[in-house]
Symmetry: C3
Amino acid sequence: MKNELTKFLYGGDYNPEQWPAEEMSEDIKVFKEAKINSATINVFSWALLEPEEGKYDFSRLDKIIDELSEANFQIVLGTSTAAMPAWMFKKYPDIARVDYYGQRHVFAKRENFYPNSSNYQRLMRSLVTELAKRYSKNSHIVLWHINNEYSGNYDGNCYCDKCAKEFRSWLKQKYHTLKHLNEAWSMNVWSHTLTDWDQIMAPNKLGDEWGAVEGKETIVPGLSIDYFRFQSESMKKLYIMERNIIKAYHPDALVTTNFHGTPLKTIDYQAWAKEEDLVSFDSYPTYNEPSYKAAFVYDLMRSLKQKPFLLMESTPSQVNWQKFSPLKRPGQMAATEFQAIAHGADSAQFFQLKQAKGGSEKFHSAVIAHSRRTDTRVFCEVKQLGDILAKVGSTIKGSTSSAKVALYFDWNNYWAFEYIDGIIPKQSYVAVMLKYYRVFYERNIAVDVIGADADFSKYDLIVAPVLYMLDLNLADKFKSYIAHGGNLVTTYLSGMVDLSDNVYLGGYPGPLKHLTGMWVEESDAVVPEHQVKVKFKNGKVCNFDLICDLIRLNGAKVLATYDSEFYQGMPAITKNTYQNGHVWYLGGQLDQAGMTNFFDKIIEELKLPILADSINGVEVTKRVTKSGYALFFVLNMTNEVKPLPQKFLTGYHDLLGKHKVVADLKPWAIKNFVKNN
Amino acid sequence: MKNELTKFLYGGDYNPEQWPAEEMSEDIKVFKEAKINSATINVFSWALLEPEEGKYDFSRLDKIIDELSEANFQIVLGTSTAAMPAWMFKKYPDIARVDYYGQRHVFAKRENFYPNSSNYQRLMRSLVTELAKRYSKNSHIVLWHINNEYSGNYDGNCYCDKCAKEFRSWLKQKYHTLKHLNEAWSMNVWSHTLTDWDQIMAPNKLGDEWGAVEGKETIVPGLSIDYFRFQSESMKKLYIMERNIIKAYHPDALVTTNFHGTPLKTIDYQAWAKEEDLVSFDSYPTYNEPSYKAAFVYDLMRSLKQKPFLLMESTPSQVNWQKFSPLKRPGQMAATEFQAIAHGADSAQFFQLKQAKGGSEKFHSAVIAHSRRTDTRVFCEVKQLGDILAKVGSTIKGSTSSAKVALYFDWNNYWAFEYIDGIIPKQSYVAVMLKYYRVFYERNIAVDVIGADADFSKYDLIVAPVLYMLDLNLADKFKSYIAHGGNLVTTYLSGMVDLSDNVYLGGYPGPLKHLTGMWVEESDAVVPEHQVKVKFKNGKVCNFDLICDLIRLNGAKVLATYDSEFYQGMPAITKNTYQNGHVWYLGGQLDQAGMTNFFDKIIEELKLPILADSINGVEVTKRVTKSGYALFFVLNMTNEVKPLPQKFLTGYHDLLGKHKVVADLKPWAIKNFVKNN
Amino acid sequence: MKNELTKFLYGGDYNPEQWPAEEMSEDIKVFKEAKINSATINVFSWALLEPEEGKYDFSRLDKIIDELSEANFQIVLGTSTAAMPAWMFKKYPDIARVDYYGQRHVFAKRENFYPNSSNYQRLMRSLVTELAKRYSKNSHIVLWHINNEYSGNYDGNCYCDKCAKEFRSWLKQKYHTLKHLNEAWSMNVWSHTLTDWDQIMAPNKLGDEWGAVEGKETIVPGLSIDYFRFQSESMKKLYIMERNIIKAYHPDALVTTNFHGTPLKTIDYQAWAKEEDLVSFDSYPTYNEPSYKAAFVYDLMRSLKQKPFLLMESTPSQVNWQKFSPLKRPGQMAATEFQAIAHGADSAQFFQLKQAKGGSEKFHSAVIAHSRRTDTRVFCEVKQLGDILAKVGSTIKGSTSSAKVALYFDWNNYWAFEYIDGIIPKQSYVAVMLKYYRVFYERNIAVDVIGADADFSKYDLIVAPVLYMLDLNLADKFKSYIAHGGNLVTTYLSGMVDLSDNVYLGGYPGPLKHLTGMWVEESDAVVPEHQVKVKFKNGKVCNFDLICDLIRLNGAKVLATYDSEFYQGMPAITKNTYQNGHVWYLGGQLDQAGMTNFFDKIIEELKLPILADSINGVEVTKRVTKSGYALFFVLNMTNEVKPLPQKFLTGYHDLLGKHKVVADLKPWAIKNFVKNN
């Protein structure tokens, strides 16, 4: 079966090259005890594989693969291209990225190559060619893991002169003439008019940094946003280079790279996913995150290709790099792994299988801990999960999810929204999205997280908050969706700019104005000292935070009006009927109670499918197996006892449980119900 | 009439070069509707005017000026020299400033030339010469606006090698010998003794930065303070170059540059103002600033030349670069514009007349907004203000202010006071000044804000807080002022150092000691955990904050003593009679109640003129017209209804109002009373 | 008498070169009035001594030494090598250190040479040779003060290429082969494997900086910790160079350098002290520090050589560089000087004898103040202390201290502990130590602060908290100590890694496991939102903060168990008997009440010697004179009246007081009791 793994993977990152060779057989015994069936290897071994340029040494890797193959492991093979060896920095100092401060980095770390380096590209291609030649026929290698967490951290972009040069070529292709570029970027402002392509530079702290705001931003948003696009595409080209080499040797090989972040701002995952066979994701929620944060990213990952993804990394208990990292409580590890599965993962993979004894991550938890014992709590839980997955993994694998609600999220807005020099402090795009995601999560309503290329027609409702940046094509797509009976919720700071960050004149929300049936005359900043009251037609009074749009009607119906400030009585929330569909407009950021009041009515009107009654801390999701069974995942995402949602008390069978369904969910309980036939 | 504008200006910054040419006639129609009579143009057009070196293109500017001239606008013509074109950075990278971190900047932004660049100077002179040649005879150009907000932000100084070289010449002129320099800067401390002029460097992060304090300070205060002086003078030279070129072509041209900040630390506005025909100022108070902050800077601006100034920039509603920028409330825009007028402005000018659609300031409010509509609240208010100014502008224009109280503020102290490595954390010089300014503002007592060159004899009272740095000439000037019956209030941290920051030995306040009749043995730091009690002779007990001077008497009378700590009973506040005058000394920073107790007595004793009774949030100021009428400006600077000060209920006529004077001031109400004859 | 001063020193830093020569005789008169008998000179005079390379001018220094010698002062002679002259930076720019950000510093400051500079070394050696030749025979010079506060501030390390080169040599000597180095630093992690020595770089912001944590840390802890060792040793070599030159000219000369910090992290004072004749220390507690903080460092300084040290710098009243520096209260100066003496100092020396009139420290207090008067409070107190020391200094001098309790503190742990990328935020090593030191300080139990080279057998109890890093030798030393009847308290995060920061496998606390009779399976992070309850066998319930070890017993007895969380009931605190000794293990950071509960029992069991009953704010210490008298120092370290500990009411004689002992201690009172015979 092409494009699909044969097994549900249980395993994770394994680095035997950090240990004496003779320990490996003992390790494998321990893994088998926990029913681990997969290992991700060779993610960081370049220096060992190629100790000097062109001299390859695969002896150790051969043995590792042999030993895992003999043990019948599903091998996920890394290409080792994320961390460059020391000799490479020494020989080709220009392979290292230059940061926003104009400084070229030196040997160290990982994910610090710059994407347009011809030296890096040549050396990377050689290594991957060697790997593909040597290993692509090994049937135990079920997946190729290219590079690692591209872009590395939240500022992985490179700002070197070579990148700037490539950027100019990229811009020429996009804008053709300097005149167009000057217009797109509004360069007559502050006499920035360019008269030669060579005058274009990468964003730089010493150049156009805009002191009035925080972060790595220039005075020219058009340039900075284009630079994000360019860097994401440059990185993607590297990925494609590696993939194509592997596919040249083994056209049926499955290829992925591990995404990360919440999600990562610098990499447009929606564009990248098209180039992958499988989406995979590294998940590290902090101890005090609400459970909907992880769920949101999982739903995004599943929606990227509208099919199951892999949970490529997660931690058995603690990580060592968050501010506070308490132990995962008894049961919590399994529940958090199952949360990913419930939202579409077809694997449970750990970083890492064996705890390092040195280096910066030595206090990161692992399946085999420093104590080297298997009578520990963590190992026992890993083993229990192994037993469960051995039982139900193959049933779950390949089962699909579906949703009638979509949350609109795209990288143009990620970049542009966090770039606004506006009347309130910078807001996090993801944080705004989570406010809306949460509404549906808490009501057990399935959500897809979609971008501009999605099929809108599948959804009964699309929620598109702060849809700040959009082109006319996307506006048309929404128009057509609504005209044909779709339902859209949008908000303040929507429909404002085109893809070059130039404002649509004539009143916000620009090209969406005809859909919303209103326009915004002014937007007030809600200062921390007070909130602004908003009164719904049903009499309920809530608050707006951050922004209050002063709305002028143009056909829309008023759902709520301001109840304080000089604009008391003006419309705050509206609803418009456009052909066969409806468009809601929120003129500000509703508080929690307001969100409930607003969305509950829509949910009712549209009869959106609710999987189970809400119980705080308990999430219910559904996947449908290939053979048509509905699998309900009921997870207690808290450390307390919770009631089981009523509906599962009768008529369902818990694949993981005893015969009798009980009314209480223990802390971190996992239930996997199917209809009892 | 030389040195004076003929009209009260109503208008602001206008950048038609950012828009299609054909929009301009429509814009002008809109401006006229609002009775706007002036436009500031060409502030940032260098790249368009000179797309490559020596090739000038004035075609667009010609048309703009023609169109505005035809419409009979008062044109304020920018020289465009603040933002250098991209090609200039490319061709002459050394035109960009080097920052305190030793890094040379690259293309971008504005106000980032370094003042001693010969390339910048040559190119700037050529452009200004072309402009002066071409436009100086145009009678619609009523004012030349040189460059823009010199120094840019709060660290506009340049620290490049060329500046360092010029600095050495500057120092040679000042100190003549290295011996004098070593003494002035106390260079034997820490073996800093210089043996060659070449060893002198600009302040630099990697050099003498003093880790124990925050900010860009070196271990050698004498050097750092001299560097401030040198940079302010270097910038001033640039201004003078531009001015002289313009005057060479049109000796009667009026010339200004727009000051900014609260005020700006890096530019000695008192020295600069002497080189200007008119002082102009850009004013951007934040939403939560007390109204006396803006008033203080306006009074400073007026005092610079002791004549009306221009409000060159202000915002119709929101700016987009403050942390929170709520809408100006109905009426607030007019009230804030009128506050500047009340304190001496002869214009109301906005940034900007037309809202940009791209770039970093696109969400800054404007007269013509993105919506392009004139039925909006903001436009209506702009129009209402236009009506008012059309009615009273010519009456107000040229009217004068007078004050019997002066607050002493100079740039030597701005630089030196914020440089003290003392026993308490760094204090803001402006923040200290505002504490004293506020006392008089809240009592409707007019204040001038003066420096060392002012005529002291005009004032019944001079308040000179933290007069830390002064030379013997200034000390003598105060002595003579007091001897002839003047009254001086001074405080802790006064009379301490000479202009090189060397302490006057023999007891603080050094050369003022004979005037104060006391000296300071020790100064305690008041830690945040507690305040120190001070008991007035009238029994009232207040607190000292920050510092408590332990005072030894030498003829002065004790007005208050400490009432806690081991120095309980020692003098805290004194008053001395010196010949025909009096000197008060405050040994610490009084709390609010203490300030009232202290100053009310002085106000009473000196019978200082109070314009009206205090009403919290209502300010009353006075200007006297050329024909001798007193204009009282009564402004409600709050969003609440306030009572009108009693005295205006009868016998006055409101130029802006109906016949009947009413007792209530609406939110943001403006009243402009004259005596009813 | 070799290796010992003949007098108890009272004096401090004196810089007559900052003043006209003729002032010196007047200064000396004033010092004599205060019974000051010593001056530290020539600490920062290089630029005056050597105004250009190789041209020396000792004329001024000759006169200073002559004048002080005539006045019979004990001269402490600085070598002036800490602050390099301007010409030296100009001529040899490479003498300046390169910081962690890769930037080479320029002229300025002090302590900013890099230790491996051959230019610096050559010039330093020449100067010191000249000084030694010229002055080593002067008998008034009682002590040589080399350089000044090596490393300067808390990041005095140099990261230049020359240092990196020396670092590689240092590493070759330590590890011999790259294979060993790669293993020690765990370089196979993230493909860091080195294939050539030249690939080793100094830590650098642009290299391996680890973004997940704050501070100057790399991803390779082994490298960073070795770099700390290397830099401390490189600096020590400089010290030894100077010392050896002086000793070559005068073998009996006493030599020191002034240590500082709380203590300083970058300099391993335990290793350095071996190279000194006398330890000396600069002490600047802040106003709001608890008094045990200074006591801790004094005890460390005394323990370094197990003999009296010098208080080389302290302030008569205020410093000018702390955030808030209130005046020392009446009596406070004497009490704080006496606190150092009580803990082992044989001097009381000030920075500084005469207040500078310029430069950055001009507002630092001094014996001769800006006022130049001697009728001031501060001068009177200096004089009173002079009288006291003239009376008792010679009695105190050379008296010894002894302690039955030792706190274990070493620089390997200082470096490694603050480097842990663990499950909780970075903790300060000193702050942890202070928690334990405080227990004994508050109970008037004498404590030595010892490192790995100390003689453990002297102590009834050793407290070794967070003994994170240790080699097997040290583990054996503890084992032998306990086996022979010693008592050890250790805690969480102990016995974890070897000297290369590699984890001891098989369960924490690694090589101490057999001593503690338990091992740690997991360590929970205690998040700020809650604390974890711990119940002692006596029923008392306390809290753990930061970390909770989940303990598995292996012979130890349980003293307390967890009383909340899922590990409720598991052991939290244990005690093990190992041969003739005992080992306590604290699985977390006890709160204040818990510490009392825990240690009071141990103190009782071990009958640790208590010098006097506890009175909050009153400390009691003991020194024994050479002639065998016990001197009890009873100090009221508060600004309030306190009771005298009972035991001193009868049978003791106060060397400093009247005949009758009174029951009250005035604020900052000093008592110096001997048994009345």
